[in-house]
């Protein structure tokens, strides 16, 4: 441990980028897909037919601030 980190009273070690990347990629895509279904599906864009997803998350979509209707 270097003197610099000691003088600040803490040791803060970053997570190596190579270890982070696969998690960021797959986790990020999954999370964004979930957000898409809450925010946009059966509104401005659609992957499924019908209006069930839109109607089901209707109140959440309005209250979370996404454009709806």
């Amino acid at each position: 441990m270097s003197d610099i980190t000691l003088s600040h009273g803490t040791a803060v070690t970053p997570i190596p980028a190579a270890q982070l990347f696969p998690w960021a990629l797959f986790g990020g895509i999954l999370m964004l897909l979930a957000l898409y279904f809450v925010s946009t599906e059966e509104g401005a864009a659609r992957l499924l037919s019908g209006l069930e997803v839109h109607e089901f998350v209707h109140d959440g979509r309005h209250l979370l601030g996404f454009p709806c209707h």
Binding site: G27, A44, L63, G65
Partner: protein, 249 residues
Amino acid sequence: MTGHLLLRGMIAGLVAGLIAFGFARLYGEPQVDRAIAFEELMAAAEAPAGAPEEPEAVSRQTQAGIGLFTGVVTYAVAMGGIFSLVFAGLYGRVGRLSPRALALVLGAAAFVALVVVPDLKYPPNPPAVGDPETIGVRTGLFFVTLAASIFALSLAVAFARRLGEQWGRWNGAIVAGVAYVAFLTIVFRLLPAINEVPENFPALTLYEFRLATVGLQAVLWTALALVFGYLAERSLQQSGNYRALAAKF
């Protein structure tokens, strides 16, 4: 380590989502109900007497209950996951903030970038406000604003750090802050204004609805940042990525 943080981010998101759901039930739903009552009043005035009512695909009870729950909790868990990934990337690379402090700063930044800035240009609207014909344009403009907001804040932070090395942190932050506001002002002026509020829509309902949406997000991000900070600090301590040598506070 990243996997551990991702899991904790999603757990923090779940906790934040449950609290935000409670807030939405208490302060959001009354406004949604009032807006729908207005919508039905307008529809009844236009439709000829005795016209059949529109069939509901999902009942109001479901929308305001399990539907709202699913929407808010999914949003919060997904945001918690993304939050933890951004945290994992910035930890130890932006200053020497402790995990709890970094989580709090990041939560405040997310609230500004994802909620405050987009809302200034395109504020959330209750049911009965918004033309279904323009949903594509409105959604597009909303996400463009969101992207510009995230881009501007990230760049401003990088800019402030770079300038701070030359001119001192205080001056660097002021210059970067001015550049941030100037950039967003230009973006806001370039994007078209949208106003689809019906002429006789009750002003108080609109105001209270919008207030509730900001409150919901404030509750969500505060809870997310605090819970994640606690969980992440314990986890990083165990993995040896964090060691507190100073007095506890």
